[in-house]
Amino acid sequence: MTADTLITIILAHAFTKAEVHRHLWRIRTYLEQRWFGSGTSGTLEEFYSHEGASDRERAVATALMSEIGGLSKETVYPVLEGAEESVKALPYLSISIPYPSDDAAVVGIGTWFRNNVHDRIVIDMTTDPSVVGGCAVAYRGYRHDLALHRAITKNKEKIRLLLHDYAGKTSG
């Protein structure tokens, strides 16, 4: 298994950079415990379950079951380090949403960005109540305000005309 194969399998079920790093850390921990630890004999899925992983995270473990057997003590570290370097090179995007992000939100928004921006993009999602009515995105050094403030600013002239019309009607 190469580093790129590993990253591709992880990215199929992980959308945030934290998730990708968490998968790489769990794989490394699982293998080191198996080779150098107390000699656990469980599978990767069991390890993920033991770690309290979600169903989506366990899907990664399931996908890696057939691949991880080909790794040895000598080959695992180059693969893991190559995967770490590959993660650094992945396109990255930060998004703020006005409500607390849950797994569905991460999957939905992550999928949207994979389908519309880049198929290997990883995101970082935060909660910001001030971006009500939309979201805010930081990508390639630019911040895009896609919330209510943007909508109002964009339609400011229309709102002003409406206010004037309203003022004219009420004063007339």
Binding site: I97, P98, Y99, A105, G108, I109, W112, N116, V117, P129, S130, V132, G133, G134, C135, V137, Y139, R140, Y142, H144, L146, A147, L148, H149, R150, I152, K156, I159, R160, L163
Partner: protein, 236 residues
């Protein structure tokens, strides 16, 4: 002066006589040296001496006569001169008197004429001055009238121009003030509009935050992302 002339004349005559006598003596001596005595030398000398003496005597006599005659003539001349000079003086005095009288009369006449001419000149001068003054007054009055008229006209034009200029400036200033008021009003309205829009945004934020469900907020997120995609926000 006349006496001196006579004395000089007499002296000249005496000198002439002396010269004649000397000349005669010289001639006789020459004749005695050149011509040899015809008979005897003593006889010749004696004859010559006699003749020379005779000649000298005649010469002296003639000189004396001349002198006397000259003296007489001088005296006569002097007396005549004295008489003549007295007449001349008298004539001269008379003439002077006549001349003086004539001159006096002429002077008086001239003085009168000069006075008359001067008076006439003064009168004509007064008349001329009076006339010039009158003409100058008239000319001055005419020029003054013309200047006053011109000044009034210029003043009226100037006042009209100033009024027009002031009017234009006041109108321009009014227009400027109106424009500034309109700009100020527009700026104030924009500020108020901005404030209203900010308030609206704040109110909407509060309302949407409280009233929107999670699915509605999620839907708004996707709509915002789709809109950003349409505007190529992620292609930068």
């Amino acid at each position: 002066m006349e006496g001196n002339l006579l004395v000089i004349l007499l002296n000249v005559l005496v000198l002439v006589m002396v010269l004649l006598a000397v000349n005669a003596v010289i001639l006789l001596r020459r004749k005695r040296e050149v011509v040899p005595p015809p008979v005897s030398e003593d006889d010749g000398i004696r004859e010559v001496q006699d003749r020379s003496v005779s000649i000298i005597h005649r010469a002296i006599k003639q000189a004396n006569q001349i002198l006397v005659s000259a003296e007489l003539k001088g005296i006569n001349v002097l007396s005549q001169q004295k008489l003549a000079s007295g007449d001349v003086a008298e004539q001269f005095r008379e003439h002077l008197r006549v001349v003086e009288e004539t001159l006096r009369v002429q002077y008086e006449t001239s003085a009168k004429e000069a006075e008359t001419a001067y008076m006439n000149y003064i009168q004509s001068l007064e008349e001329t001055i009076r006339r010039e003054v009158t003409e100058n007054q008239k000319a001055l009055a005419q020029k003054a009238d013309a200047m006053v008229s011109q000044s009034q006209q210029m003043l009226a034009e100037s006042v009209g121009m100033v009024q027009e200029r002031v009017k234009q400036e006041v109108e321009a200033e009014l227009a400027k003030v109106r424009t500034e008021i309109a700009d100020y009003k527009d700026r104030r309205m924009r500020v108020i509009d901005e404030r209203i829009i900010d308030l609206l945004e704040e109110v909407l934020q509060v309302v949407l935050e409280k009233k929107l469900s999670l699915s509605e907020q999620s839907d708004l997120v996707y709509r915002a992302l789709e809109e950003a995609k349409r505007e190529h926000a992620f292609n930068q």
